[in-house]
């Protein structure tokens, strides 16, 4: 506003106005919102790296078993304790080879196959727990923000859950409820359900708070008033008008949720309260390898790097998404 050029004479000013009126179309072609978001996102190198690594690792664990079809649980005691292929570079006598590129463990199980299988479990737990937390958080946030009567109680409830000590409670729930769920769904299925549920039910609070805040602000806007005045039902207002407008904070908290879910699952496996011992996950592989890390450091390093890189890429992805979805930063 302040930096508008002052026209030299009244005639010139008139001409300029006239010229502006002659424009039948906008000077720049219209741009879709999501294209803007994508353009901004592409500028963030870390986010691009993070996004592509996340896609790569997801594809690798989904399609890996078809390409590398050694079973992760096959024992091959004659070929135990192979080193990974890169040890041949500095130690010609090491037992290593292309049959087991990442080596084998003390029972001769192929580490590459175990990493793929473990990644499958870790990623599945991460995605599902994040999804559960998002659904609960969005539901509570929307209801608390839209319906005034529920707001006070739901937010007090959120505060209460926020002050629960999460890791001790998760440990508690997993150790105590392992047996009945194992009996009902089998040792792997029961544990899977339990861990997903426990992580999901303890990490929805931030999403709920953010969504509630945004809904409270959006509710007072004119377009909601317009929608209400033509008789749109609350359910439809929420679905058609409110939810699309809170997608961006939900997406950002989704990335955070995925990162915490993967770390929590690995921490549980590491502490020995996670999946049964013959069922590989990244945290489990790491925990099992710690006792032999003097001789075989790669068995600690490989799953550790896998966890760290995945979480790092998810965090970078969240960082980039936050920048790209924020209209105040976008376009600068």
């Amino acid at each position: 506003m302040t930096e508008q050029a002052i026209p030299a004479s009244p005639i010139e000013a008139d001409l300029e106005t006239f010229g502006a009126l002659m424009d039948k179309e906008p000077q720049k072609p219209p741009r879709a919102q999501w294209k803007d978001v994508w353009d901004q996102f592409r500028k963030h190198k870390g986010a691009m790296f993070g996004g592509s690594f996340l896609i790569f690792i997801t594809l690798a664990v989904v399609f890996g078993p078809y390409l590398w079809d050694l079973a992760p649980t096959t024992l091959d005691i004659r070929n135990k304790n192979w080193r990974p292929i890169y040890t041949l570079l500095f130690d010609g006598d090491a037992t290593a080879g292309w049959a087991h590129p990442f080596g084998t463990d003390q029972l001769g199980r192929d580490i590459m196959a175990q990493m793929i299988a473990g990644g499958r479990v870790s990623m599945a737990v991460g995605w599902l727990a994040m999804g559960l937390a998002l659904v609960i958080g969005t539901l509570i946030g929307v209801v608390a923000g839209y319906f005034k009567r529920m707001d006070f109680w739901l937010m007090r409830f959120t505060d209460l859950v926020l002050s629960l000590p999460v890791l001790p409670l998760v440990l508690l729930a997993v150790t105590l409820f392992r047996q009945p769920l194992n009996a009902a769904y089998g040792p792997e299925g029961g544990m899977f359900i339990l861990i997903v549920a426990v992580i999901g039910f303890t990490s929805w609070m931030q999403t709920a708070r953010i969504v509630r805040g945004d809904i409270l602000a959006l509710k007072e806007r004119e377009f909601i008033l317009a929608a209400r005045s033509i008789g749109t039902t609350p359910i439809k207002i929420i679905r058609r008008h409110l939810l699309p407008n809170v997608v961006s904070p939900i997406m950002v908290s989704a990335t955070l949720g995925l990162a915490t879910a993967i770390i929590t699952e690995s921490a549980l496996s590491f502490l020995g309260v996670g999946f049964p011992s013959d069922y590989p996950t990244w945290g489990k592989l790491l925990a099992d390898a710690v006792v032999r890390m003097q001789e075989f450091p790669e068995r600690v390093l490989l799953p550790g790097i896998a966890i760290s890189l995945t979480v790092l890429s998810v965090n970078y992805l969240g960082d980039g998404l936050r920048d790209a979805l924020d209209p105040r930063i976008r376009g600068r």
Partner: protein, 335 residues
């Protein structure tokens, strides 16, 4: 401010009661049997008697009420007795651990110093590293230092302690042999040599915990400094000829510390929770490790009490954060 503090203190009582009820309910619903370790030759009637002796025969609300009385009334009395040598608590039943048959709080008090030393020191070290990094990367925004700092904090966020711990052990204990891999809690510091050993064994657990603190707090510090550096009062301070050091280190820093101090307060309980893993990696026998062993041994009173102590810490530090925020920032009015 005082009314606000009192109101929050009063409000925290139902919160704590609710949390204790949740934990208690979880333990009640759990199918674990504390008699599972008893030999099979013991007849069922005797087992039933043992169960009743542990107080398990009563209805759940009586058990809950008794725990509340023991935790909130008997244990504080025991504490005052210990402090002043009085005998208020004589003959009263304390919370007894099923593992060791000794009062839970005694064991907690034995374990507390180890946790406080390691965790507390890690937090202090983390803050001391984080604040200068945050200040400098905000002051030189988008510089090489800032980029590197952002990258390192991202790594600190992303690498879990159960990976950094073994990694440091492999590097510094196994390959280089500089530091001990296990934290020896029986070690007593009497002279310079023993102090050196104590120092060496604390380096790794403290660094693992401090990495996470540093990542989080330097991020907040940088953000808060960036918010303040472009404000009008900074330009005024420069315009009236103050030295750059005074502008940044006094005017901007003091205003930026307001949100950071609350974040520091809010992070305290989380670091106790996170210490469970670090204590497990370095075999520090603090309260995190105590919780784990109690969980595996089905020692319900111990688990209940410890989890509740964690909850008290969270509620307490939330309160402290709110009060600090109100005290430091005169623009915040709670009434």
């Amino acid at each position: 401010m005082l009314t606000f503090t009192i109101r929050r203190l009063v409000l925290s009582i139902p919160t704590l009661l609710f949390i204790s009820l949740v934990i208690f309910g979880l333990l009640q619903l759990a199918p674990g049997d504390p008699m599972a370790q008893v030999p099979l030759t013991v007849p069922p009637e005797v087992k039933q008697k043992m169960r009743e002796a542990l107080g398990l025969g009563e209805a759940w609300y009586i058990q809950y009420y008794k725990w509340l009385v023991q935790f909130f009334w008997v244990e504080p009395l025991v504490f005052t007795d210990w402090l002043f040598g009085t005998s208020f608590s004589e003959g009263m039943q304390r919370v007894i651990s099923w593992q060791t048959r000794s009062p839970v709080m005694d064991i907690v008090m034995q374990r507390m110093p180890q946790t406080l030393w390691v965790v507390g020191l890690a937090y202090v070290v983390g803050i001391l590293i984080a604040i200068p990094i945050g200040i400098y990367s905000a002051y030189r925004h988008y510089s090489l230092f800032d980029q590197a700092g952002t990258f390192i904090t991202m790594i600190g966020f992303s690498i879990p302690p159960f990976f950094t711990g073994p990694l440091l052990i492999v590097i510094f204990s196994v390959y280089l042999g500089w530091l001990p891999s296990i934290y020896d809690t029986t070690h007593v510091v009497t002279n310079w040599a023993t102090f050196k050993i104590q120092f060496m064994q604390m380096i790794m657990p403290v660094m693992v915990l401090a990495l996470q603190t540093t990542a989080q707090i330097s991020r907040y510090m940088r953000g808060a400094m960036l918010d303040n550096l472009n404000q009008d009062y900074v330009r005024t301070a420069r315009a009236k000829g103050l030295k750059e050091a005074t502008v940044v280190m006094v005017h901007v820093l003091r205003n930026s510390m307001i949100p950071v101090v609350t974040v520091i307060a809010l992070g305290m309980p989380a670091i106790f929770g996170g210490a469970i893993i670090t204590e497990n990696v370095f075999k520090v026998n603090g309260i995190g490790q105590l919780l784990l062993t109690a969980l595996f041994a089905n020692d319900l009173p111990m688990v209940m009490t410890l989890t509740f102590i964690f909850a008290i810490l969270i509620v307490l530090f939330n309160l402290i954060a709110d009060i600090l925020y109100g005290m430091l920032d005169p623009r915040i009015r709670y009434d």
